[in-house]
Symmetry: C2
Subunit: 704 residues, 2 copies
Amino acid sequence: MLSKSFLLGSASVFLALVATGTARAEEGMWTFNHLPVSTLQKTYGFAPDAAWIQHVVQSSARLAEGCSASFVSGDGLVMTNHHCANSCLAALSDKTHDYFRNGFYSHSPAEERQCPGMELDRLDNISDVSARVTDATKGTSGAAYTAALQQVESELTKDCVNGDPTHWRCDMVSLFHGGQTALYRYRRYQDVRVVMAPEQGIAFFGGDPDNFSYPRYDIDLSMLRVYDGGKPVHTPFLQFDPMGPKAGELVFTSGNPGRTQRSLPASALAFQRDIVNPAIIGYLSTREGMLWEYSRQSPGHAKEAEDALFSIQNGLKSYSGTQAALRTGDIVARRAKEDAALQSWIDADAGRRKEYGQPFHDIEQAIAVEKTLFPAHLALRMALPGLAEDAMTLVDGASEREKPDAKRHAGYHEAQLGEVETSLGAKEPVYPQLETDTLALGLTLMRQTLGADDELVRTVLGTDSPEALAARLVKGTKLADPAVRVALWKGGQKAVEASSDPMVVFARRIYPAYAQMRERMLNEVTSPLHKAEGDIARAIFARAKAEGHADDIYPDATFSPRLSWGTVKGWTENGKDIPPFTDFAGMYRHATGSDPFELPKRWLDAKSKVDPATHVDFVSTNDIVGGNSGSPVIDRNGHAVGLIFDGNLPSLAGDLYYDISNNRAVSTDTSAIIAALRDVYNEPTLVHELIDGHQATTSGATKP
Amino acid sequence: MLSKSFLLGSASVFLALVATGTARAEEGMWTFNHLPVSTLQKTYGFAPDAAWIQHVVQSSARLAEGCSASFVSGDGLVMTNHHCANSCLAALSDKTHDYFRNGFYSHSPAEERQCPGMELDRLDNISDVSARVTDATKGTSGAAYTAALQQVESELTKDCVNGDPTHWRCDMVSLFHGGQTALYRYRRYQDVRVVMAPEQGIAFFGGDPDNFSYPRYDIDLSMLRVYDGGKPVHTPFLQFDPMGPKAGELVFTSGNPGRTQRSLPASALAFQRDIVNPAIIGYLSTREGMLWEYSRQSPGHAKEAEDALFSIQNGLKSYSGTQAALRTGDIVARRAKEDAALQSWIDADAGRRKEYGQPFHDIEQAIAVEKTLFPAHLALRMALPGLAEDAMTLVDGASEREKPDAKRHAGYHEAQLGEVETSLGAKEPVYPQLETDTLALGLTLMRQTLGADDELVRTVLGTDSPEALAARLVKGTKLADPAVRVALWKGGQKAVEASSDPMVVFARRIYPAYAQMRERMLNEVTSPLHKAEGDIARAIFARAKAEGHADDIYPDATFSPRLSWGTVKGWTENGKDIPPFTDFAGMYRHATGSDPFELPKRWLDAKSKVDPATHVDFVSTNDIVGGNSGSPVIDRNGHAVGLIFDGNLPSLAGDLYYDISNNRAVSTDTSAIIAALRDVYNEPTLVHELIDGHQATTSGATKP
């Protein structure tokens, strides 16, 4: 599943290197205002024109929690993945309704239900603010650079939101790692309702064993509707093509790839391979085992842990796949050569030496510091899951809001405060035992990582055992109640300081160490890395220009809107051809009847009704990564022909490099969606809206 | 904890490379018949003479399940680690007696209780059988070599045991990886009783967080007594020194280091680093999380899982430590240079080229095959835990016993059958839910590793889910009863084929794949590797001889008796001096009161009685690895001054190389043992036996 992983929390300051890449065939995640149209025209005999581009931009959307989506009717109907609506379905389910297992079906607008905390953003405008940022940060470095950058970001986003953070959202996006800075303005929607979601059993048919694999038979779909002022919004939308794509067809993807590191220096790749990934994989594996066993205890526990287990297993496959590529491929050695070549190019000229310096050396130095900080940094994240993280957000947010906007850390600027409050107020259920076990395990792993006599461990645990501390905190805290969290947030520093809630007391106790770690990471690691990567990016730019191929360069992914393209095409694995399409016949064959290879009853009942030759899923060469989940697959006509939901196993190294020989995006075919709605779920109204582009009743009512 | 890891089961055919090393100061695990006495004399002004050596050999012992031990009285009293008696204490505990938590104390011979399945072996004789083996395998390779080797092993061990496998055990030991072969004959004891074991809370004080760390405060002791014909045996023994060693003192270790790979070619190290270790660490991490959560469910569950969790966490630290060394050190690059140098030495001479060939190339080829087999091989191990493994032993053993002795696989030769039967008949408790969960997780991870459509996965699971299959097998099987296992074993092929026990049926279904995997691993991986390593070992030998330093060479560890030495000495870590000794004052300071930093009540009560300055643990430069657990630390006089129980974190890379700057063995001081028995446990009889060397009553009765 390709939703962008926030596994290590929003406050994570993990190595966030982004740099530049040089495009090869079908490689690249391009910004909408800088598409290599002439290359496209040359290669495919087709290039999108301005109207096509604008239509696609305005029909596309981003889900704030890490997915992509598209409008598929003029009445606010949105198509995204089932797994992008997980937390919504979990939140809406209760003792008598398991929407996750049984699906969610509304048969009238009144039955559409709001997804707690869900936000959808639609791109409105991109402006280049590079000059402004360069001016503001000129001559600064380290902490001063960070402060200057924060100051200008705060000013820019505040101006951009223009006093209306409820309807607008503005993100400063650093492209080419500081080589360019853009301000992305989004129309913000916070009333998103679920219209239809099939059973988890078909959306994630094959479960974790099939995840990131292919052939595949998933209808990873959910339908949402966006409301504003209590009414469905009306926007441009992608016409739904009920036939799906053809083999060999050129298809586009409009989505929000989360993060790539396509030009990461070899030293940073080696750091990930040798230190970061093994530690995170170990952590995720232990969590997987814990959640697996928790789920075994009762059907209730299985339901409680389902979401977390899903997310952990997904992250685990993703990290493991990347790590496998790093370990077994020659990418690190290749990158070392590229790094050396760029440094030689810099060194060959006095002007360049002055302009770009020794960025690879600088990066090595920053990584040397990060090596010493990493264990404690990871341990802090492990010690703050769930409500403990919320408590830390309350303590941190209260403290940050005491500062002038410009001095605050990212995430706490005035324009971002609404988002924090929404997130704190989200009505996601808290399960006391799962919460306790998760915290206890996190604290145990923290101690395992740092040792019992470590000062931070002593600060966190005192003389308690992880189990006793976790039990005491979860039992005593009132933070499980969203209203209590919001009240503390609103109460600010005074309320947080006065609180005797044990979880808040706990967060206060850790806060100095937490804040100090963030400062050190920012000033000694992130900022120097950022600067050196900027130098590298600018050097790559300058070199590409000098060598006449500047147009072939695309920026690393930044969870902002991008276009990629490719062809519907299988691949060859160990000498075996993997065909591009699967069909319903294959799906029924794949069903052994045992979880997770058990089809939902509706599908078994409908077997005679669906055409066995109808395509279910397909693969294409589109260059996508996590964050692209829910992206529409679009044909030349600008019509929706598929719904991205995964990549194959080799694509997991896509964070680091794109390999056309085996990197494939996996999509649900629009023909499968239509067949499901029509033949399995008996949803003629929804089929009608998709084909017509408008709600039957609404359009009838509003038509003259 | 340094007990030899059998995590992946006795049938494991994992890469078992052993080669040769060149000794540096205090490095080496030397065979008793080839000690570098002149080097010792030169370095320390002391070398053991023949009497000293014989005395130490005859006072030392090996526990068949992977530990070392020593006789510390003339009446069969044996000192080993608490963690070496874990399974015994678990087996003896019942609803009303938790010997693990509360300790085990006998106050008369009648109260000493037999440890189910425990076997102790005392070295009787070593004979060189190199010529016999070389003759028998001459001119063979691949399957023929394997068969020839098995044939000669079968003949040699059969002759050696001389029809009395109850009292004798003979192991063919391949030293210098086939460069030499020795036959080790042991006096075998199968009536081992527990005399005294302190609480787990002091034996493993600091638990997993402190494991492999230092400073440390553990009294990792158990006292056993060996009986023969219902009476305590009388053997030579190590006089117990109640004062412990001094800083800087020369000390020896007599024990059974399990396995080292000190001259593993770079290609094999890289294979471990890139493929094997990450997979095993992932597996162990998931198991850790599962067992951790299982333990959280109730005190009963915690007790059920304690042993397994202990063993998994221990293995996890051990693999992770080795992996950290492989990832961050330059050992692979260094080894590649050494490999190239040896190949150059071979290539420089036509005679050598003919004699040794291209072993590094051969190893690379074997590893290329192993790469393709490894996932399924690991998956098979994961799918066969606990009773499923027993069932496979029954099916496999029945089939193997149909063959003539010489054609059987290792483990099933006539002389070894008693051991298999003992192991199958051991009365270790089976906990149905833990058994089910463990099997279900193993099957799940198998499917995760190979994919749902894999043929082996289909064979193992059929159309069942892992959970349903595991539940059905564990619920239906009668194998939890040792008598049922033994009856099936004794019934042989006929009984096994006729059995409708679902676990046996399950094992029969997998057996063809299992046997085929073993054949392929043996013929295409293990045998060619073994041959190439033999070539390398002989080349290293020949080169060392030619260059005049053949005496500085010791063989890799083979879980057979070895002597190592070193000095009692701390080390420096991040510029901080770690002193060699800890004391009771430090122990009481380390006790936060929370598990696992909670001292048992007896220790809290005895605080005023114990001398705070008494040493608890110490570190020394002795070169030890897993399997050395329970080894005595011996002074020049041949007296016991300590009890090895662990290594520090840097020592975890000791499998691959020894680094005197930070590799340290961790021991319990004999002064702490005496203080514990005298001041805490009030065991004057035992103290008396240790000081006197004889049981008070027995010696009184048998004295003239």
